[in-house]
Amino acid sequence: MQIPRYSGDKITLRARLCYRKFSWWNTQFSFAGVPEAGGDVTADYDDRNFAFTGSLRGVSAKEEKIPDLPIVVIAEDEAVLSILPQGSDPPQPKIVTQSADWQRWNDYGIGLFLQGDLKSATAAFEKATEADSENPDGWVNLGRVAVQEGDMDRARTVLENALRLSPMLARAHFFYAKVLRSDGRYDEAAKHLRQVLAQYPRDRVALNDLGRILFLQRKYADAVKVLQGVLAIDPEDLQAHYNLMLCYNGLGDEVHTREHQIRYLRFKADESAQAVTGPYRQLNPEDNNERQAIHEHVSVPLSVPGMGCVGTADAGCPNERSSVPVRRGGSR
């Protein structure tokens, strides 16, 4: 950040996240858009200009004037930065984690986890546990990431921490069952899942996991009972139909095997569907960029070399988009 020369000894940064349901232009267009003369219209595009002078009569919203949609502030915050004289030694960064910070680090970690950035999510959840080591949820989330990463030894340790702090915590039992199951310790895993189900008997995910464990133990009839419990909650549960198909196959019940196979195939996503987006993604690199689990938004003038390279592999584009300059006002 460039600091103006005469800014004093403090700078206050204020940030607001504002939201309006529809853009101004779209709202005007929807209520009163009238095409001007000229401009091509084909099956593929509409190149006409529009004026927003049309009559509102006949608009299904039945408004007398174009609504002025409010802009709502969803979140805002501010931070005060100290300004030091030019040339003075910068102070060593000092991150003080306080218990009040727990929620922030935990929410940040969840966001990173859902984004697929497991490495950063782990760091954030570690901060959460540092902020409040007595809060079991931070440990559970660390365990959740470790399970996702396949680091079962780490998962075991942190989940045992969580269970020590909160012996009845269902989420800790759920993920601990996953650790045990990966070791083939099916009986113990089932025991922990039953602790979850004692508190949340209609938890489809836990029921599905228990059903799968019973299937792996060749306890097909028991698994059928548990998995039918899933279908009593959600008749379209994909995982339950899949494992019921296998259980009935194990029981030699061809009729029910077939029945659940048909339902499974009915509700299952078409794995090949994503390929349909390939040509579109190639033609629309900005949208392709949005599709990447971890991606950056670069806002720069179109004249900047490499701008057209976002989300594309075209010849002449740099492989490392971090080398693309970002002008003032740009954001990454």
Binding site: K119, L265, S272
Partner: protein
């Protein structure tokens, strides 16, 4: 209960008597004269095929009983550069632990972006031929029997398909005595249609195959006159949604007819059951091998099948992506497979690694098939976003303890072997006739490795089959070896692993036993040959309906320490 009794018996015979041995896989690549480096063509564009290869194979192309080596190679995307002009390599086994590059002399220096290889004698002339898969045109090389090969792709009727082919396997699916060919295809990809993907939001990475349309596997039916016809549709194998990387041939239901297993990447794996009338029926979904436990398709890579627990039935291993365990699908004998990865001990160790080549092989000759998995991630940038997943990864070797349990022993097999690699293809053979199986690994954009198996003391018996009414290689024949009260069996098969093929000679570990009490061979033709009292310490050649026609005692290891 019967299976448990069998397992217990086996444990008493082998598990306790032979025990763990101090076996090392010593890197002999350099001293063997193998100086191969894979050219994946990578120059920053991150084109999808760059991260896939290469495959490798053992072939005794000159019938001297010493396995030779094929290493498949890619090439650059700009074909006018000399540095890009790489081809596959054929290394001749010199019988003394060294190999010689005979590619040019053999006529195999043919430009292509090669990926996989399958070895089989398709014209039953006694010399194994080569099929090389590629991005673009695949190639069939006929072995002329004089140390040279001829590209007969056009003459065989195989010219034309421009696909992204991966693994392949020879199989006599209609049991007419002529080897047919299954070719796995991956996705519809071209340089022009290559998509941008990123792992870390900054660097381009290799896209996962969901982004591209699938491509059906192809079945080439051998017409018997040096020509093949495309029988994919007629055999009901056509499935344009498939994104196949691995192919294994197994007799899943024990009916004597070969079935086909395709490992698919982000599509369900397929198990095609032979209907004995020239057609197949897909049964992978209800068999439980198609999807993960949640009912989602996994990223299947390599595949193999063997009877690892003396159930009498072939079970399956399939390598998957990082954060997906190796699948160890146990054949229940009723059309159902149950994944034993977690309970067997192979699951945890394979959870974070990305496996490609894989096979069952009895590396310690204790009579129980062990497992090798060749690992390596597809993208160098993976370490930026995942803490524990690395680009180069150690391979896995799991020692079969009996009773359906495995123990990882990789670290005990030597530092060179256990070091991290970006491995892809994997194959095994006894390269120096010492009765122990050696390992060949390829790495993506890197060297190939030949590891010599040293330090074992168990006995073994090697069986080479020569068909007469059946196909000459005996592919599809099942050999059963009885030693004391223990029975083990293997099927001669092409394909398996990933882009690779192991030798066609079968190796049976006999533990401390000095002979096999009985050897029975069931040929695809229906012929059954029975032999009694076959000594360990040798390779026997069994000819269909004739019995043993040659014996070759093991020699002292030719590989110098």
């Amino acid at each position: 209960m019967m299976r448990q009794l069998c397992v217990l018996t086996g444990l008493l015979i082998f598990g306790n008597s032979s025990g763990a041995q101090s076996i090392q896989f010593r890197d002999i690549t350099a001293q063997a004269g193998i100086h191969f480096v894979h050219n994946n063509g990578a120059a920053g564009k991150k084109y999808l095929p760059e991260t896939m290869g290469p495959g490798c194979a053992f072939i005794d192309y000159d019938n001297d009983s010493w396995p030779d080596i094929v290493l498949v190679n890619g090439q650059g995307w700009l074909r006018h550069s000399k540095a890009d002009a790489t081809t596959l390599k054929l290394y001749h086994n010199n019988h003394d632990g060294t190999f010689s590059d005979v590619t040019q002399k053999a006529g195999l220096a043919v430009p292509m972006y090669g990926l996989g290889v399958a070895v089989g004698d398709y014209d039953n002339d006694g010399y194994d031929d080569l099929f090389i898969t590629a991005v673009g045109q695949n190639h069939l090389f006929h072995n002329n029997g004089n140390g040279t090969f001829t590209d007969v792709t056009k003459a065989a009727g195989m010219w034309g398909p421009d696909q992204f082919s991966t693994s392949a396997a020879w199989v006599d699916y209609d049991r007419d005595g002529q080897l047919d060919l299954v070719v796995a295809n991956y996705v519809q990809w071209s340089k022009e249609g290559d998509l941008y993907c990123t792992l870390d939001g900054v660097h381009k990475s290799y896209c996962t195959p969901e982004s591209y349309k699938g491509s059906s596997a192809r079945l080439w039916h051998n017409l018997g006159n040096g020509k093949f016809e495309d029988a994919t549709q007629r055999a009901k194998l056509y499935d344009p949604t498939s994104k196949s990387l691995g192919v294994a041939i197994l007799d899943s239901n024990g009916d004597g007819w070969p079935d086909i297993l395709l490992a698919n990447d982000t599509q369900p794996n397929k198990l095609y059951i032979n209907q004995r009338d020239g057609t197949f029926t897909e049964k992978g979904i209800e068999a439980g091998i198609g999807f993960s436990e949640e009912g989602f398709a996994r990223a299947g890579m390599g595949v193999d099948a063997a009877d690892y627990d003396r159930s009498g039935r072939p079970s399956i291993i399939i390598t998957n992506f990082a954060n997906q365990m190796l699948s160890l699908d146990h054949n229940e004998g009723n059309g159902l497979f149950v994944d034993e990865a977690a309970r067997s001990g192979v699951g945890r160790a394979t959870l974070i690694t990305l496996g490609f080549g894989c096979f069952f092989f009895d590396y310690d000759n204790d009579g129980w098939p062990d497992i090798l998995v060749a690992d390596g991630h597809i993208d160098r940038e993976i370490e930026r976003v995942q803490k524990r997943v690395t680009y180069a990864e150690p391979p896995h070797v799991f020692r079969n303890l009996g009773g359906g349990k495995f123990q990882e022993v990789t670290d005990s097999l030597g530092p060179a072997f256990a070091s991290p690699k970006v491995a892809r293809g994997a194959a095994y053979a006894d390269v120096d006739n010492d009765g122990s199986l050696d390992i060949l690994l390829t790495t993506n954009g890197g060297p190939a490795y030949l590891f010599h198996n040293e330090g074992g003391s168990n006995h073994s018996l090697r069986v080479k089959l020569v068909g007469t009414k059946s196909n000459r290689d005996g592919i599809g024949a099942v050999a059963r070896v009885t030693s004391r009260k223990d029975i083990q069996w293997q099927m001669v098969h092409s394909g398996s692993s990933y882009l690779s093929q192991s030798e066609l000679v079968l190796t049976f570990g006999l533990g401390m036993a000095s002979q096999a009490d009985a050897v029975e061979v069931r040929w695809p033709s229906g012929q059954v040959d029975k032999l009694a009292g076959v000594n360990a310490g040798q390779t026997v050649t069994i000819q269909e309906a004739k019995g043993i026609v040659a014996r070759r005692p093991y020699s002292q290891p030719a590989v110098k320490k």
